[in-house]
Amino acid sequence: MPDTVAPKPGRHREASLYHALHGAGAGLAGREGLSPEAIREAARLVFEASELPVWRRSGFWTTSLQELDLDDLEARAHAPGALPESVRAGLPERGGPGAGLAGRIVQVDGSVVHVELDPRLAERGVVLSSLEDALRDDERAREHFSKRLTYDRHKLEAANAAFWTGGAYLYVPPGVAVAEPFEIVYAIEGAGVAQYGRSLVVGDRASDFRVHEHNLAGSFEGQSLHAGAFECYLHEGARCRLAQVQDWSGGEVYDVSTRFVGVGRDAYCHWLPSLLGGRLVRQHLELAVSEPGGDMAFRGLFFSEGEEHLDAFAVDLHETGPSGGDVHWRGAATGASRSSFEGLIQIDPGARQTHTYLQIHTMMLSPKARLDAIPSVLVSADDVSASHGGTVGELDESAIFYMQSRGLDRASAVRLLVEGFFEPVLTELRDEPLEDLVRAKLAAKLAHAREDIEAYATTR
């Protein structure tokens, strides 16, 4: 395990990566065998003893939460009821459970307000409930809870582990294949909210299912926070397509979240987060192949605008071999936004015959935007292949002229180019309503940034 491979002295960068990966303190609560309740207690202590985190990378990049007034935020409770209209408007059009949707669970601010599950799936043993409920009497949920999540990397991680409410739990039994997606929705309704979201997804042996997580917020003035923890464990032979559409809209929502997906023996996960909005979004995303024969496709897209700040740290972790992995992210930035994607392929000792590839492609769409695309590789095993590449590009003016010469105005040409840029990843969502939703959000961002994009052409 990584703990035994100490960072070499003088290799500052590796050391900081390990630090980020494995936490400052003892952490790794699951291994310590702490009960869910004990984790809350331990996390509370860490929360009280810590300052708000700052992430730095080699002096070029800083993500700081100093502007967040944590004391002014609270977990707001709501009564359960029908699906709120404001939430429904932000989701793709689908039928109800059994007709386009397998199930849906919705948390608004601090409470789970709505759960629905196709009764035929319930009969087959599928469980979809709030995580609070599940931890009360579901042994399997208690067993998996926080297995690979830490609570002590930083203050907000501790806050989540100490104060989370509501939450979502999905369990798919052995051999159950579900074509329609399960929707997990976190919505923030107004300012002054601290939403500590906690999701646990367990795919038992040879299960086959899809999960779409939606993060959305209304437009409001004032700060709110989503500090989320998401974990997904796929047992032997399980297959899962995980998509996440995060759009906290144009307000002042901070999102600092950790996600872990563990791929078991001969299991497969296709993971595609779309990070599309939030004042400051810091995501630690870890996709780990923990057992031989595991395979994964880690995709993602992001698009920052205005004054947004996005910091995504994605890890493709191979703990044993043979295993495969394929990371492909695409991102763009307009306005005066700053986006950073750091993608790490980590191949641990013993993960022989691991073959991975990582590519990150980005596009700058305005003179004041900042984009960092950093692929890196940490290999500690033999007989592996791990290659990577990153590009930071701009709009191809010759392509724009070409399209204009066919009668398309500049804005249409830019839209086509940007859509074409994201298309290779976007089409892997393999779900038309979701693809349409993401395309619509991309188009809206381009429309907002039209002046910037025009200005950019004339400065080059």
Partner: protein, 251 residues
């Protein structure tokens, strides 16, 4: 009055002046050839006609169907009925040929074109130009061979039905078969749509397959000689040097 009138056109890039007073008339139903040695300004003229931002017009005018388009945006010129078949067509990754064509057609229309109508037009164009139907679902110019790129240009031309098409060294880098297909395509559009074409070429190969009525020779940013198809034969025999001496170009 010609459909496309170029009067005393002077064009410069950041570094230097490239066009030094070009006069040229092209109308629908006419086939023109523009030839000249490398660096004479042929591509600059082609790109300037569509309003490429890298080229600055310092004097002169371009008039199209009676309207002064000297200052117009590239997409406005296209909508008015001008088309440029690029020497190096650009790849637009993620956009299929068919979708791109539909968007370009819709740019000129009040109402978006219906699915059936578009399908029908596309089918006819594909037949006319003897192109493989599967071509249209590939991403525009992405991974296309040189010949495929040029075919895609002609397919776009067929679908967009411009009044005047400028073909910028369409024959460069093509093998005989591709060349013939492209030339045939242009000829069919000329015959069936009354297309006017300005065929820019360096080596004249394409002119064996589609015979121009008017031939212009460009040197050092000006048109120095004009004539009929016999000029093509002359250039093949003598090359450009003889003509350069005759007209005292470069002075």
């Amino acid at each position: 009055m010609a459909d496309l009138e170029i009067r005393d056109l002077h064009v410069r890039t950041e570094d230097r002046e490239i066009l030094r007073g070009v006069d040229l008339d092209v109308s629908r139903g006419e086939l023109h050839a523009l030839m000249g040695p490398n660096g004479s300004g042929k591509s600059t003229l082609a790109n300037t006609l569509l309003g490429h931002p890298a080229y600055e017009i310092t004097a002169g005018t371009i008039t199209f169907k009676g309207e002064d388009i000297t200052e117009s945006e590239p997409h406005e010129r296209a909508k008015a009925g001008l088309f440029l078949a690029f020497q190096y067509p650009v790849s637009i990754p993620g956009v299929s040929v068919a979708n791109f064509l539909r968007m370009a057609i819709n740019a000129k229309r009040e109402q978006p074109i219906g699915v059936k109508e578009f399908g029908g037009q596309l089918e006819r164009a594909v037949q006319l130009l003897d192109v493989d139907r599967a071509f249209t679902s590939r991403h525009l110019n992405d991974g296309f061979s040189g010949g495929e790129k040029k075919r895609a240009e002609i397919l776009q031309m067929a679908m967009l039905a411009p009044d005047i098409a400028i073909l910028d060294e369409t024959d460069s880098g093509l093998d005989i078969d591709a060349l013939r297909t492209v030339a045939e395509g242009v000829r069919k559009l000329y015959e069936e749509q009354g297309l006017g074409a300005l065929i820019i070429t360096h080596y004249q190969r394409i002119l064996h397959y589609i015979e121009p009525q008017f031939v212009h020779v460009m040197m050092d940013g000006r048109i120095v000689l004009e004539g009929g198809v016999e000029l093509v034969e002359r250039l093949e025999r003598e090359g450009y040097d003889q003509i350069r001496q005759e007209v005292g170009a470069g002075a």
